[in-house]
């Protein structure tokens, strides 16, 4: 048996270590890493199956510790892998609430295809739910996260945004460092996106 078996579970653990240590909002999906873990799981399983059939047909229990160890390693790999996917899914969900319904361009390449699909489906479900509540008028659950104090707020532009049309048809030009007095509900998403800043 090769010494490299000492590394059981380490590949899977590294997936999580990289995910935690990464300075990015969400690091690129580690295709290679995931494939390696899947291969390791398969290899362990096949070895154990081969030896376990022998184990069951004879009274020889001397391989029990080995089978037990490898089984634990298999479960460990599975747990790390699922935790990796689960943690990414949590971050993708959080992105919907914090960034809005569109994935920022510089983040999108970090997601794998099923994750993009998940984001879109999650976004759709959330939108459908928000439309369905509130006596048929719908409620934007991503807005008014703190009790609003006034209908209008004073804001300053952090970046050049361009034209912004209000519900009543009025158009304001959001130029960097310009200040405006605007309806709170309508500009809240822009403040949350860091385009405007709420000032006193």
């Amino acid at each position: 048996m090769s010494r490299s078996n000492r590394m059981f579970g380490d590949n899977a653990f590294n997936l999580l270590k990289d995910l935690q240590r990464s300075s990015q909002t969400i690091p690129a999906f580690d295709d290679d890493g995931v494939r390696q873990v899947l291969e390791e799981i398969k290899a362990i399983f096949e070895e154990n199956v081969a030896q376990a059939s022998n184990y069951n047909s004879s009274a020889d229990r001397s391989l029990w510790p080995l089978l037990n160890y490898r089984h634990a390693a298999l479960q460990r790999n599975k747990r790390c892998l699922l935790a990796y996917l689960y943690e990414r899914m949590q971050r993708i969900k959080a992105m919907r609430w914090e960034f809005g319904p569109i994935i920022p361009n510089d983040i999108k390449p970090a997601l794998c295809e099923p994750e993009v699909q998940f984001f879109n489906n999650y976004s759709k479900s959330l939108a459908a739910y928000m439309r369905s509540v509130g006596d048929g008028q719908g409620i934007d659950l991503t807005g008014n996260l703190r009790p609003p104090k006034s209908l209008y707020i004073e804001v300053r532009c952090v970046e050049n945004y361009g034209k912004f049309e209000l519900d009543d048809g009025e158009v304001v030009h959001l130029r960097k460092n310009s200040q405006h007095y605007l309806p709170r509900a309508q500009v809240e998403p822009l403040v949350r996106q860091g385009i405007l800043q709420h000032i006193t």
Binding site: V49, A52, L67, H71, K78, P147
Partner: protein
């Protein structure tokens, strides 16, 4: 809970204002207020009082307890007492904060009041931390926290319940291990973990 939400709850408290306008009663979702007659005091919810005050449409009448002598007494009593004394108002911090920041001119000796209310809050908060410590180190299983206001309770949330959760987990662990030395290695990750002992069936094909 974020203090801005506690403030929102506290804004329902009623407070007296003297309007400088006259108007029919307002029928609001929560009930009716008014009628308003210029120069005559009327009780309104705090949120409405601050809103009208900002538009210069009224003067706020500070609640009775918002007065130096009364607060001095409360402060002394709070220092003397081992327990938390009853505050004149469940939302004293919220009411003080909102009234004194929107209408400092309506409150005589506003700055002194501000300091003393802050003192009272600080005394109570440090008392809270001391009694939490005594409670955690003692053998008690419950603590009596009468007279604490919402904002005060939330000054130790969520850190206190979180800490108690962990302490309880370790206590259970310590007692369980003394009781049963032959137990299986810890498997606290729950039944969903699927990491239970290996079953032979997995290997028979």
């Amino acid at each position: 809970m974020d203090p801005s939400i506690i403030e929102f709850i506290g804004e329902k408290s009623m407070i007296s204002i003297i309007p400088n306008f006259s108007n029919e009663p307002l029928h609001l979702v929560y009930g009716s207020v008014g009628p308003f007659r210029a120069g005559f005091p009327v009780f309104v919810p705090l949120w409405l009082a601050t809103h009208l005050r900002k538009q210069q449409k009224c003067r706020i009448v500070p609640p009775e307890w918002m007065e130096l002598e009364t607060l001095e007494e409360i402060k002394e009593e709070e220092k003397r007492s081992k327990f938390f004394t009853k505050m004149p108002c469940e939302h004293y911090m919220v009411v003080a904060q909102l009234v004194m920041s929107t209408a400092p001119d309506d409150v005589p000796r506003c700055e002194e009041l501000r300091t003393i209310i802050k003192d009272i809050f600080d005394i109570r908060e440090s008392k809270l931390r001391t009694s939490i410590d005594a409670f955690i180190k003692g053998e008690g299983t419950y603590a009596k926290l009468d007279n604490l206001t919402l904002l005060e309770i939330h000054s130790v949330r969520p850190i206190l319940p979180y800490s108690l959760d962990h302490i309880a987990r370790y206590q259970r662990m310590a007692t369980a291990s003394q009781r049963d030395t032959s137990m299986l290695g810890l498997n606290t990750t729950g039944s969903a973990s699927g990491t239970g002992s290996m079953s032979n069936s997995l290997f028979t094909q």
